[in-house]
Symmetry: C2
Subunit: 340 residues, 2 copies
């Protein structure tokens, strides 16, 4: 149409220069008018370009099997996009070991990937990574836990505060006026997860805002996660007066509380926590855990890679905040959420 060869058109499309302004404009005009879009299938076949995405995740550990799910989502996405030259390079760290996190970041920086998918566990090190990326124009996406940062490509995860708010709503159905509730934070390291605190904030604000629920809320922190420490810690609270009607655990460790309740044959309380792990589901089956809130972990990993795929291969614009639905899990519907 423009009276030029495909080579010239190709140069225009890829901004490779070596085209006069006159022909360039002519070609651009025609591309627009005829609604031409490159055939990604042919493009993929012809191009030998390979996109290397670094994936910075915690390694699965005995204390929490959670992170195997996002990894499964990543692998699923990699399988689907492998044809298009996407390869994932995994950098797994020990989530309780800051040095291990730092080391993997060093490796990433050294290996120069085309993009990075980050589970931001430790603050300073994360900042170092994203500053390096910004400098080298490497896009990066956060997963699971958000990061205040305007130059990120995207965040894929849950609105943590809202999830706590939702938990409170669920709690409100089964506790009457004047009841006493308990929020439990149970974790070895506290500094690194703002979104855990957001859950607590959300939970509290529900009862503050819905003033028709007159509720007394206790906060409790458990730092040592071995069985004995938990037992001692909880005995104290529950023995005072067993007046607690509901317990909200701000992470996936809720099964440890459930176990305590079961073994001590406490009066039933409404128990709400996070994540569909094997251990948690056991107690859902036994009706000890009432609700679990799911973060859609598989979709997080899948969405993280797909975001980069859309950005690089399909040239789509991606949304900066991608909040996944907050799924409510009970004994009756959990089976439909597992598998993959």
């Amino acid at each position: 149409m423009a009276g030029v060869s495909v080579g010239t058109v190709d140069r225009v499309i890829h901004n490779r220069g070596e085209v006069s302004d006159i022909t360039r404009n002519k070609v651009i005009r025609i591309i627009k008018d005829s609604h031409y879009v490159p055939d990604i299938v042919a493009r993929t076949l012809a191009s030998k370009k390979i996109y290397r995405f670094a994936v910075l995740f915690p390694r699965e550990n005995p204390d929490s099997t959670f992170w195997s799910k996002p990894l499964a989502g990543v692998n699923k996405a990699l399988k689907e996009t492998g044809h298009y030259g996407i390869v994932g390079e995994k950098y797994l760290f020990d989530q309780f070991n800051r040095t291990s996190f730092k080391k993997q970041i060093d490796r990433i920086i050294h290996n120069e990937p085309d993009a990075v998918l980050i589970a931001p566990f430790y603050y300073e090190e994360t900042v170092r990574l994203i500053e390096n990326c910004s400098q080298r124009k490497i896009p990066y996406v956060f997963i699971n836990s958000n990061f205040q940062d305007s130059s990120k490509l995207s965040f894929v995860g849950q609105d943590s505060k809202q999830s706590g708010y939702l938990a409170a709503r669920l709690m409100s159905y089964s506790v009457e006026q004047g009841s006493r509730l308990l929020i439990i934070n149970i974790s070895k390291v506290l500094d690194n997860h703002k979104h855990i605190l957001n859950r607590q904030t959300g939970f509290e604000s529900f009862f503050r805002e819905n003033t028709n629920h007159k509720i007394d809320i206790l906060n409790h922190y458990i730092k040592d996660t071995d069985k004995n420490s938990i037992s001692n810690s909880l005995n104290e609270i529950f023995s005072k007066k067993n007046e607690i009607k509901g317990v909200f655990v701000t992470n996936s460790k809720v099964y440890k509380i459930a176990r305590f309740i079961e073994e001590n044959r406490l009066k039933p309380v409404t128990l709400i926590g996070y994540d569909l792990t094997e251990e948690n589901l056991q107690y859902v089956e036994k009706n000890i855990i009432d609700f679990l809130i799911s973060q859609r972990p598989v979709e997080q990993g899948y969405g993280g890679i797909m975001t980069l795929f859309n950005h690089f291969v399909l040239n789509k614009r991606v949304k900066k905040e991608q909040h996944l639905p907050i799924d409510i899990i009970t004994k009756e519907n959990y089976k439909f959420y597992i598998k993959h």
Copy 2:
């Protein structure tokens, strides 16, 4: 490797004959041993084959906006798979008009698509369609409502009975012993939706099986869906003695009940229904509807097309029953389920 040309290998792969048994076996052997898989990108580029999928859905109507969502999912899938030669041909019928359903089936049979995605509304006509498909070896997939049929390729939708069961569990949190509950079926036509009845069955069986909940359940059918008929019908029930503590509506018409409750300023009841429609969400916002159960309508349409895509293009085996998660929707999390 086999000492033959690509042409011969191609004939083996596609069972096009004209290959001696000896060479065929040799090639097959090598394909297996070397884990060869065809490059779908190159295949798509080279092949001019077009797959025409017929989509038999209800047309969106003022009474229910539900079916626009599966259609959106279908369109999304078609966009993604368009490169691979997938085209959708839509056959939309009036869900309250059996003749319209029949007519579209005639058109489908006449047009000879490569596969059919069916929302099975009327029984006999559906049987006629799938018998025709079986005869002509055209695969078909059911969506939303299941169909007892061993030769279908797949079903994509929800486990209806389990969703009713789940609704009952949610109800159980907010009603004390001895309460009276109400199940409302509200629909112009009753014969065509077994899965609506399954919801009721599931709800009832929860309270039968969990005998620690002593609950009295009333059933109520509303056939005329205009406002006055509903008013009259409900007035009768609620006026007797306003002792009803919870209402379960077995479909998306729950907003009509909510409206009645609002306008008559009835004592608050726990109200549970189906589907995230505009009208329903209004009453969720007002705290009149407590829970909605979502059928993941968009995913149903998306999954229906993707099932056929996997079958035809990727040669993947597809599962015969694909049950989507039963999402629990409240005022706090509904926002994350809409959009797309």
